[in-house]
Symmetry: C2
Amino acid sequence: MPPIAFQDQIPDNNCFGCGPGNREGLRIKSYWEGEEAVCTYRAEHHHSAGPPQFLNGGIIATLIDCHSVCTAIANAYRLENRPIGSAPHIWCVTAKLNVTYLHPTPLDGPVLLRARITAAGPKKTLLLCSLFSKSDEECARGEVVAVKVPSTWRY
Amino acid sequence: MPPIAFQDQIPDNNCFGCGPGNREGLRIKSYWEGEEAVCTYRAEHHHSAGPPQFLNGGIIATLIDCHSVCTAIANAYRLENRPIGSAPHIWCVTAKLNVTYLHPTPLDGPVLLRARITAAGPKKTLLLCSLFSKSDEECARGEVVAVKVPSTWRY
């Protein structure tokens, strides 16, 4: 059976970057690959930087943010030895997002995101996430602090 | 005569966040207000976070990034005492983008961005940029390092 993306197990998520039901969103899909989480994304032409052949820096930040926070959520369920999306639901939000842009990212191919957890406490998860171009060049590197929040933050 | 936005003076910009001709982009508009640059933006419903009533963190990062880099470009022309977009063209790209998320940002109203330059060298411009909700709460704070690049980076 093929693996199910984190995003297809997290309920009630309308996010522009990772909500499966947000038709005008990016709808990224993230999966475990050993201790890393990976996501392949193919941007659309309007996700460009100033020059039309490069990927926009804000979209890069969105991809790093959403892939990392979904990984933090998946890891929090994993640490409790239960399936993603099982009750009680676990929610994380982004407290800090630091992105270093290393090289322009070509828009005419998929990008690969690789995230790994560097620290996981009861409340905070720290992650490093790199974005690679289709030619395996590391084009951007992100540090994310994800924080667990009560379900009530949604209302 | 009403002021003309930075973005409507910078030529050939197809950017998702700030390109005036990118029909599916955010098309932000930035203006000087004394020593600060301001931008008011009203997001669309699909720019939401997980909960549909909050603004997405990646869109917040995009707004801070684009408003700050356009301000760095505008400032670079200003330091040369010439109009934005006059030849030779000045281009800046984002080297670093650090965003701290302070509070959830309501989606049902405009946000206001205020950027100010903290250092401007021949190559690097450092900026601080805050995003305020419709009720004047500072919801996110960004630090941006913009770097001047030769026009050839576009090709």
